[in-house]
């Protein structure tokens, strides 16, 4: 075990960095799907938007001002985008997931094509801000500082989101809406406000994740679907509408993705979906999902 960890330490730490980033992306997707029963395939496009904002404002050798500016701008764009998506999918709320998927897929194509028209289709590199662009020794290996910081930021965000959802009244409202939204409305709460709020909040996190992930993934066409698929796998594994599930699922998928790439580079994506299939066989509702049984 010790020798294995020595050899794969970088892979494991990478897995955590990717895992926390995935959590930031997936938690919004999970809440919107779990609460409002809206399948939002445009979530990846919001991430991509954030990635390009990062590339545009921060670029290859970013200043702190550029990096923080990109975070702020992407957060605003994410909020606005989430609000717009919420309004667009509202009329489809009672329709099938397929209708919602088609609409949000269309939005994804429009966003992605617009970004290609503006920035071209070459991948853009995004650097880490000064001071975080070096490497630090971790148990004998050198590891990019930024990724360690990303793990820290991800962990703090995860704890914050967890505390808000699990410990505050607002969070109780969100969890109640996941469990049975009609009964929330029957107590005088306007479901539409919760829906817009969660949509905007989740999209904000996805856009911010696009900037945060810049130094790892850069900004390039197709990144939206890569990230969306990973996030969907996380949501399926973790269970709809569960913050704890999204965190655990993201950390598992981060490790599977990272170690899969280093240990079995040829079949990495099969490893990912193998893990998904395994979870679905053992726990069809995901690790923390219980929603299907709630309304029986």
């Amino acid at each position: 075990m010790g020798a294995w960890l020595d050899a794969n330490l970088v892979g494991v730490v990478n897995g955590f960095a990717i895992g926390f980033l995935l959590f930031i992306v997936a938690v919004g997707l999970s809440l919107v799907f779990g609460m409002m029963d809206v399948l939002n395939l445009a979530h990846g496009a919001i991430f991509l938007l954030g990635a390009y904002v990062g590339a545009a404002l921060a670029g290859g050798n970013p200043s702190w001002g550029g990096f923080l500016g990109a975070l702020g701008l992407s957060a605003l764009l994410g909020l606005a985008g989430g609000g717009a998506l919420s309004a667009m999918t509202e009329p489809l709320r009672k329709r099938s997931h397929l209708d919602q998927a088609l609409l949000t897929l269309g939005v994804t194509l429009v966003v992605a094509e617009t970004l290609v028209m503006v920035y071209g289709d070459d991948p853009l590199a995004v650097g880490a801000p000064p001071g975080l662009d070096g490497s630090v020794p971790v148990l004998g290996a050198f590891y990019p500082t930024y990724r360690l910081v990303l793990i820290g930021i991800g962990a703090v965000l995860a704890v914050l989101v967890y505390l808000v959802v699990e410990r505050t009244t607002l969070g109780a409202l969100v969890r109640a809406t996941v469990a049975d939204r009609d009964m929330v409305a029957a107590l005088g709460v306007d479901n539409r406000l919760i829906r817009v709020g969660v949509f905007a909040f989740g999209s904000m996190l996805a856009a911010v994740a696009g900037v945060l992930g810049g130094p790892i993934y850069g900004a390039r066409p197709g990144l939206d679907s890569t990230v969306l698929i990973l996030a969907l796998v996380v949501v399926v594994i973790g269970g709809l509408g569960s913050v704890r599930g999204a965190l655990l699922g993201a950390l598992v998928i981060g490790q599977v993705d990272s170690l899969g790439r280093t240990l079995f580079p040829d079949v990495a994506s099969f490893v990912l979906f193998g893990a998904l299939a395994l979870v679905l066989v053992v726990r069809p509702r995901g690790l923390f999902g219980g929603k299907l049984g709630v309304r029986s």
Partner: protein, 234 residues
């Protein structure tokens, strides 16, 4: 005295099927109306339509003379509360969280958190327990507490006694008595005829989407043939 709730020619249903086919119903403040009828005649659909959770096709509903709003949260704020069939508490939330959310948009009135916990002391001992781990009776108490905390003028109670032991049913009877004493109107959907006769001032019977019979409880009790014909019970 003009009725608190006035339902006229109400029609509603689900995609492609009409369930309520012109319901007429009135309910006076401070009285309890028992709504009886065989399975599937539309009692729950009526309750859910009044709460705005099943869309109205046509007809009018007024509450205290004013048209009832259409969206459920507005109906709730106008003073209608629901204790749905199957309780529909939120399993992952604690009892305390249920009470907190229920009080969020509550009207002002005598049903404070303390008053409700006084009435339902079993909940007070379980504030930190997830509602999904409560017994069936406790879950029903919680569903009732959730409705009471909004300080409603009209409570829609859909089969609250379903599957519960006599002791719990007695507690429910007591709660209904308290609501009536406070001037709250109660629409009680009930399969248990004896319970309905014991707590209701009036009885209405539904059949295939309409109210087919309406009398005070005394006359209904003294006319077992009609009861048998409409309900298929003796």
């Amino acid at each position: 005295m003009s009725p608190l709730l006035d339902v006229r020619r109400l029609r509603s249903g689900y995609a492609g099927s009409t369930v309520l086919d012109g319901v007429d119903l009135t309910l006076t403040a401070g009285t309890t109306l028992g709504l009886l009828g065989r399975n599937g005649v539309g009692k729950s659909t009526l309750v859910m339509t009044l709460m705005g959770l099943v869309p109205t096709t046509s007809g009018t509903v007024t509450l205290d003379g004013a048209p009832l709003p259409t969206r459920p949260h507005r109906i709730a704020r106008a003073g209608v509360a629901l204790v749905p069939q199957g309780r529909r508490i939120w399993p992952p939330l604690t009892v305390g969280e249920h009470l907190k959310l229920a009080a969020r948009h509550a009207r002002t009135g005598s049903w404070t958190r303390d008053a409700v916990l006084d009435l339902l002391p079993r909940l007070a001992e379980r504030l930190r327990q997830p509602a999904g781990s409560l017994s069936g009776g406790e879950q029903q108490m919680l569903a009732i507490a959730r409705a009471l905390l909004t300080n409603p003028r009209l409570v829609l109670l859909d089969e609250p006694s379903d599957g519960l032991a006599p002791a719990i049913i007695e507690a429910i009877v007591e709660v209904i008595g308290r609501m009536r004493a406070e001037g709250v109107a109660v629409l009680l959907v009930e399969q248990d005829l004896h319970l309905a006769l014991a707590v209701c001032d009036e009885i209405a019977v539904m059949d295939r989407g309409v109210v087919v019979h309406r009398t005070d409880t005394e006359s209904f009790r003294s006319d077992p043939e009609t009861a048998h014909r409409l309900l298929g019970v003796s």
